[in-house]
Symmetry: C2
Subunit: 221 residues, 2 copies
DNA sequence: GAATCCCTTACAGATATCTGTAAGGGATTT
DNA sequence: AAATCCCTTACAGATATCTGTAAGGGATTC
């Protein structure tokens, strides 16, 4: 089993719960747990310098802001920095995020080794994930459907620029006029109509209101 | 100190962490922890029936959906049901929610006794909250500014029911028809128009699309 | 009981949205 | 070069949205 593990989790309750569970279920010799990304990164650096590097990082993605100044403000940034520092470090993400797209990019761009959703089985899955990753396999929570990520519709820049103006209360005619003024192209009201109608189909919505609402709720704009 | 406490928290890690902390820091004789609201409510009922009621409920607000059928799907519903069942029960909410408006309505409508934000000090605050509530005082996490809640505009049930249907893609005429079918009142298209127009003013938006977008972004619906 | 206020409702006119048809242009294929 | 595909654009007709006016009813005030 891993000898030296570090945990980044800003919720005190969750942090405590994970630490307890890992002590109970796994024979990890040294487990350090931190509430701030910056502290985790410092520990990784120091450990590496002392020729006693950590073998596994377990980290959340979202870290709440508070009165303390931070350089690294998210799990994603921590992962990137940790990968650059220590390419052979194993990384498991433990987060509420369940958007396959987001999770997919973590595997692709940052070569994480496991992904566990917070939830009713979070601790059971985390223990499994650590075991799998220890044996050089990857682990993904079963409720995450990574193949779905490939089927999702991407919004391109033109879509986004239209949606932004509509969200702001402009009519399609006004959006068209604005684009013409700014020499953006395409810019006809008709083309804007067509683009938006296409999005109705893709997102299974009926009108501008329900489309913008759905996209806002899903955090896509 | 409280002799009999029940905990409702669906994240296994957080649940474990809270339970551990309370065991360590407080002399609670009996602490039951559950991952589902329905189970909590059943336990409350049984305990009351056996003349050994719980004294304190600590609950989250959001409970993730899974494959299991649920009657009570949110902390808010659980609180309402628990209050109706056992008016003298002390209730502390422990959640990520930090919107003063939402928190205020919990104190006003459901007479909760304490509110603790999940976060880096979550466990320290929770222990404090339990001590305060035990001495018949209320506790609110210091980072929550409840006075700010009084300046914001409230959405009432009628507003919400209209907005929900519009978000779903119905036209105002369809919303009016639906309300008539359901014997909801008021229900005329004209009144619905008026309500929504009022919200345009209050939220400084220009049309249905921008209104729904803004409310979705701010998490108000 | 009259006056007032507020909410509900009806209606109407100006705009905006949504959908379909059709034409033209650039890029790619055959 | 012709055929094809895809994107842009124009236009038009049916609906929907937004705003204003006005009438009626219930509750409260005077």
């Amino acid at each position: 089993m891993f000898k030296k593990v570090i945990l980044a989790e800003d919720f005190q309750g969750e942090n405590h719960g994970i630490a307890e569970t890992l002590h109970e279920k796994l024979a990890i010799e040294e487990l350090q747990n931190e509430l701030y990304c910056d502290k985790v990164f410092t520990r990784l650096k120091v450990a590496l310098k002392n020729n006693a590097p950590f073998e596994l990082l377990v980290t959340d993605l979202f870290f709440e802001e508070d009165h303390i100044d931070r350089k690294i403000t998210s799990g994603r940034e921590l992962i990137k920095a940790a990968r650059a520092l220590q390419p052979n470090l194993k990384i498991i993400v433990h987060s509420m995020e369940n958007n396959p797209l987001q999770i997919n990019t973590l595997f692709k761009e940052h070569k994480i080794n496991g992904y566990v959703c917070k939830g009713r089985n979070g601790m059971i899955e985390l223990v499994n994930a650590i075991n799998e990753v220890f044996h050089n396999r990857t682990y993904v929570s079963p409720q995450v459907n990574l193949t779905a990520a490939n089927n999702t519709i991407e919004l391109d820049d033109f879509d986004r620029s239209i949606l932004k103006e509509l969200a702001n209360g402009l009519t399609k005619k006004e959006v068209s006029d604005k684009f013409k003024r700014e020499n953006k192209t395409p810019n006809s009201e008709s083309t804007i109509d067509k683009r938006i109608s296409k999005l109705y189909d893709e997102y299974e919505t009926k009108n501008t209101t329900s489309l913008l609402f759905k996209l806002a709720k899903e955090g896509k704009i």
